[in-house]
Amino acid sequence: MTEIVTLAEAVAAAIRDGDTVAMEGFTHLIPHAAGQEVIRQQRRDLTLVRMTPDIIYDLLIGAGCARKLVFSWAGNPGVGSLHRFRDAVEHSWPVPLELEEHSHAGMANRYVAGASGLPFAILRGYRGTSLTTHTASVAEITCPFTGETLTAVAALRPDVAVIHAQRADRHGNVQLWGITGVQKEAVLASARSVVTVEEIVEVLDPRPGAVVLPSWAVGYVALAPGGAHPSYALGYSARDNDFYLAWDVISRDRATFASWLDQHVFQGIR
């Protein structure tokens, strides 16, 4: 059953050093406020799982919270490189970063397998690519009915999923809409979950195309209005494209990044 708590309480209760944590949200509804709370609480040795690491993981990597990254596309969308990610891979700064890399289709299916309680998922993919040489969680599998060779990808079973949603009700039922990505699968694949929301309402009125996670499938809900920024919450905010462009400059240099982190994450200056 959901507990409705503060964001600091939710992170303190759900996320421990060494955990495998999946913060999902595909461009839309990225749980930035929660990511920054993890940095403030100085979690270490995390295995971070996410299809598109984006600015949220660039921050966690640069802040030294991550030991390993499981991902499928690590760029600043429409802008260029994720500089803190690159610095960690190319120069082991601030700490070495182990990689486990997949394609989007592979990662999406790994979440589906995790949510389904299966050990792996099957897809057509990866064959002929160099990914199969470098990624242990990919293997060939023969279809028992047709004999066709297909690809198996190991299930993702994170310790914790972290997502941002538009709304929850007083019971902790969660509702999200617009681009809903892989969040439902991430929550259902994980042992624990933290959901930040734009608002908590008395009753969730039905929305076309919305995903509803019932309260008994959700761990912690915390109110965090604007908690997706610089990503967005459809119906509440717009994507801050200027910030994505500005991040290229802020994150390029270690000192500039460290000063931004100190001011905006640790001191909370907005």
């Binding site: 595909f26 461009t27 839309h28 299809m51 598109t52 991902f71 499928s72 596309w73 690590a74 760029g75 969308p77 429409g78 802008v79 260029g80 490189s81 994720l82 990610f85 690159r86 891979v89 190319e90 890399e101 997949h102 394609s103 989007h104 289709a105 999406a108 299916n109 979440y111 589906v112 897809l123 057509r124 993919g125 990866y126 064959r127 002929g128 690519t129 160099s130 990914l131 470098h134 066709e148 060779t149 297909l150 617009g178 681009i179 809903t180 990505g181 892989v182 439902k184 699968e185 195309g209 995903v211 967005y232 459809l234 717009a238 994507r239 494209n241 200027d242 994505y244 462009l245 290229d248």
Partner: protein, 261 residues
């Protein structure tokens, strides 16, 4: 009207799209080209973004594959597992656009690392994203990239997405259901694969581009078609539509760097 070589590249990519096709769109030149086609000769082009937006009709160029304008104008928005499993994998999508940091003579693509050592790369690139399955399953794959010895290499450092593998029959052997890259569009000209050898052949060059110049910018011994075409330049209408689109989009860092040079 005078134009830049990357404008030519985007216009040629847009011309490759026919009206009412379904098109899997990535950010950058592919998104520009697809939206240019929709603004000119292909108003009913169906834009599909990997964020799950099917039939998106953005009024301005999006910066990301998940901008609000895509979800709000789409015919429907599906989950990420669904877009890959139900829509891309079975071969329902006509054309997929891909970019590349490196490309070899068989149209294999690298967007993962530059350098021989995966664990200690010279440059770490973003990685695969949706590209491997787009390259595997779309009915037609179009690769768009600037041509130079840095990008057109004898051997890619990492095969992120498979073109024709190591030659004829590779795709069949690997169980890749789509026909592979049918066209490579650069800032110098257009290449297509030879039907027998599967190696890329230069089919057309842009105005004022010589074959020697293209060969110079290619890291292998490039074959040139006997009936090499000169591709007509962008029309005034195409250029005007492209520039209007670009004016509607936030500047990207490459624009900013370009402005600083």
């Amino acid at each position: 009207m005078s134009y830049a070589s990357d404008e030519m590249m985007t216009v040629i990519a847009a011309r490759a799209l026919r009206d009412a096709m379904t098109c899997f769109v990535g950010i950058g030149v592919p998104s520009e080209a697809a939206n240019l086609a929709r603004a000119t000769h292909a108003p009913d082009l169906v834009l599909i973004y990997e964020s799950g937006a099917i039939g998106a009709k953005p009024g301005t160029l999006p910066l990301s594959i998940g901008d609000g304008s895509l979800a709000e104008t789409a015919d429907c928005v599906v989950s990420v597992p669904e877009i890959f499993n139900y829509w891309l994998q079975p071969g329902r999508i006509d054309v997929g656009f891909l970019g590349a940091a490196q490309l070899d003579r068989f149209g294999n693509i690298n967007t993962t690392v530059i350098g021989d050592d995966y664990a200690a790369p010279r440059v770490r690139l973003p990685g695969a994203g949706g590209a491997p399955e787009i390259a595997a399953a779309c009915r037609e794959v179009i690769v768009v990239l600037r041509q130079s010895r840095r990008t057109f290499v004898d051997r890619v450092d990492f095969v992120t997405s498979v073109g024709f593998g190591d030659g004829p029959d590779s795709r069949q052997r690997l169980g890749l259901t789509g026909p592979g890259p049918q066209r490579v569009i650069t800032d110098l000209g257009v290449l297509t694969p030879d039907p027998v050898t599967c190696q890329l052949v230069l089919r057309g060059v842009y105005p004022e581009v010589s074959v020697d110049e293209v060969r110079d910018q290619t890291g292998w011994d490039l074959r040139v078609a006997d009936d090499l075409a000169e591709i007509p330049p962008p029309s005034g209408a195409e250029l005007a539509a492209l520039r209007a689109l670009r004016a509607s989009r936030p500047l990207s860092s490459s624009d900013l760097q370009g402005a600083a040079r």
